[in-house]
Symmetry: C2
Subunit: 358 residues, 2 copies
């Protein structure tokens, strides 16, 4: 793998070098970011990047700084891959930040600048930043009966007490062996995961439990995608019943619009949503433990109503119902029935009867 990545980086550099040697002004072509260059592939049910590119030219003074930044980041990634080392994207920023000789210009003013260049490189080379050995901050853990191998260690994630395995930011080098489970339950909060672990839900329902701890970080999204593809495990997502929770589901399922080019390796288009839904409030008589929507929630509903993968009767109904009711419902609100309710009734019933949103 790293040979292939190395080759892509070298190819980029050699193209620039060739232009210089021919005394032509160097330029590179970068696939455009943003909505105008993204489309929803109805067949594969994922976001894809279009074929519009921008020319980034060294002698165009509007591009000069970004061209320089692109070369710096590519060169740093090249060294990381060669040395088999990994750096956080914040470390990359600090490593490359310096003032340029005989000027007051800095290579980068803040980390946003280097983050954008990293995304440019991902699109240009069609690789994940993780494959360039660049790592985002990690969060989240996995619990359940799967054997994982990493750095010469071999362990089962169901034999770690109630803790589970803390998932690294970069999981490119780990391998999975034997998963004695039927599916994966991805859970929004750590507290709910703790609850399910205490009730032995993963054992009794033969599933892996993956805690996102908020919006699913890239390490977790990559883990879900790899487990889905390599171990052939369905992914079921369990979040709060609110626009933020549904956005977490959307990101796991389809990727984000900003990073559409990563959809094939970071998302699980076949993921299904078990809850919470607005219907749950009625079905389980939870009207007394809802919370009022905030303005930001309402704004997000309007955005989600337009998402291509929410263009179906079931999701439109839930989103409109949420707008109309003006309330949200949290996973923990199920404790209003009883502490065990979520593990003994809510989830088993909904999962058994495949009462999912698409």
């Amino acid at each position: 793998m790293s040979n292939e990545i190395n080759a892509k980086l070298v190819e980029l550099a050699q193209a620039v070098l060739a232009q210089l040697e021919e005394e032509r002004p160097p330029a590179i072509h970068i696939p455009q970011r943003g909505l105008s260059n993204v489309f929803f592939d109805d067949g594969e049910r994922i976001l894809r990047l279009g074929d519009k590119t921008s020319k980034r030219s060294f002698l165009n003074i509007a591009h000069t700084k970004k061209f320089m930044q692109t070369m710096l980041v590519a060169e740093y990634a090249k060294r990381l891959v060669a040395d088999d080392k990994h750096a956080g994207i914040r470390e990359l920023y600090y490593a490359l930040k310096h003032s340029i000789a005989k000027s007051k210009e800095n290579t980068f003013e803040d980390q946003n600048e280097s983050n954008i260049i990293i995304e440019d490189l991902e699109r240009t080379l069609d690789v994940l930043r993780e494959q360039l050995n660049l790592t985002a901050d990690r969060r989240g853990f996995i619990y359940g009966d799967i054997e994982i191998r990493d750095s010469g260690d071999r362990f089962n994630a169901s034999k770690l007490g109630r803790g589970g395995w803390a998932v690294p930011g970069n999981i490119e080098d780990i391998t999975f062996k034997k998963a004695n489970v039927d599916y994966i339950l991805a859970v929004e909060t750590a507290a709910m995961s703790d609850r399910l672990i205490e009730e032995k839900f993963p054992v009794q329902n033969n599933c892996l439990l993956v805690a996102c701890q908020g919006q699913a970080p890239r390490g977790i999204r990559r883990l879900l995608s790899r487990l889905h593809v390599e171990m052939n495990l369905p992914v079921v997502v369990f979040t709060d019943g609110d626009p933020y929770g549904w956005y977490i589901y959307s990101t796991i399922k389809q990727g984000s619009i900003n990073l559409a080019y990563l959809s094939n390796t970071l998302s699980v288009p076949e993921a299904q949503f078990v809850g919470m839904t607005m219907d749950d409030i009625e079905t389980y008589e939870l009207g007394g433990v809802t919370e009022k929507l905030k303005d930001l929630d309402k704004k997000r509903i309007e955005e989600e109503l337009k998402y291509p993968w929410f263009q179906n009767r079931k999701w439109q109904k839930q989103l409109n119902k949420c707008k109309k009711m003006g309330v949200r419902i949290e996973q923990q609100a199920l404790a209003n029935k009883s502490l065990e309710f979520v593990a003994k009734e809510y989830l088993p019933e909904k999962i058994e009867s495949k009462n999912f949103l698409p």
Copy 2:
């Protein structure tokens, strides 16, 4: 342990019952919260709770609701302890939230109300909420050569690849065996922890690595305190060089003013601070990779200048220097020297020469 906790809860209830049977208006005495009932124990070097109490009386209408809430929370904790179950503090809120018969009053309006009652109970009974089987949301992980036992499992936290063990919110029931290390390094960010794990810092320097992932959550603070006391391991803290990072150190070392009554079981008064400091900026020529302080940072400096445990020459110097320079320095900025610098030079040199702040 749970017998002792159970006895405390029963004692609280019986005191109320006795008053009712004597036809006296029931009341309980709760140690006061806030700065006026907190003092710094210079001998033990920890925050302690004073002996001022408030009377919470059922027939005082200013207290009636809180009295009712206190009974509800205590009763719920009693059930948790009896059933050997754990609930998140958010679950407790939802479990107890209901409207009161023949009224429009809710038992609790929002989670802040139940959180405060939990703190009241902790002070009144002199127990941790974790001992009442109430758990805060978890974050953080541990990596290194220690054997941990939890729920019948037994594993070594150095044999989990690059991931480490995800620390549960409640660690009261875990036990530690054999720690083949000399000290514990508590690190602010997960990204820096990943960096140190990749450089094999814990192996080469014979230490455990504990990632806080921001402000140290209660599970991590309890873990550090227990490891310090039970395994006799010194704790060294490594954060960003800014008021927020120093606040993380302060919380690990002394506890927070709000939760002063927990100092003896949640803090490590002997903890030491390895960096980052303002001096590091000069020593390691990092002037080019500092960031400007924000207003909130400046406000926090003023607060920290007054903390009892920062009343020493070294800390006053750093805090005043930060104010004067108007900049902060992040852990990741050390990558400006080289990716390996933090693991191969910065930390080993400072730790070897005991170049700590107290």
